[in-house]
Assembly symmetry: C2
Homo-oligomer: 81 residues x 2
């Protein structure tokens, strides 16, 4: 079966997030005074051929650990849709 | 109230996605033969001070249309957590 899988890779707390910081600095000038704490990461969508949702999730978690994310500085969450 | 909001910005179908294409090309050499159709986008997490979840969503949709995404080439989905 073919599963649609989504991975979110976001910098860990305490790790510099310059893209988020830039958006945050721009918000007041753009009229958004009630927003903050912006973090920007990557979302990776892919299709996996697997026997079950669990095995698809395992395959993608393996990808995350090997090359989709850097566990030292990033959190990766895998979701089978 | 303070709401945690998540925005996913992904290239529309038919729009070049070089990062996804690069991952896809690398997969077989890394031992992942059953995966494909990789698309890479951005995920933006932020906190918004608003009266209700609906109004927080409206504020962030406004941000998307104005500067978080380019609606010509990208799809943005807003989710209040």
């Amino acid at each position: 079966m073919r599963f649609e899988v989504k991975v979110e890779v976001v910098p860990r707390d305490g790790i510099a997030n310059p893209e988020g910081a830039t958006i945050e600095r721009a918000l007041p000038a753009l009229g958004f005074v009630n927003a903050g704490n912006v973090r920007v990461g990557k979302v990776i969508q892919l299709q996996v051929e697997a026997e079950s949702a669990e095995s698809a999730e395992r395959v993608v978690e393996d990808m995350c650990n090997r090359f989709l994310s850097n566990p030292v500085i990033e959190n990766a969450t895998v979701e089978v849709l």
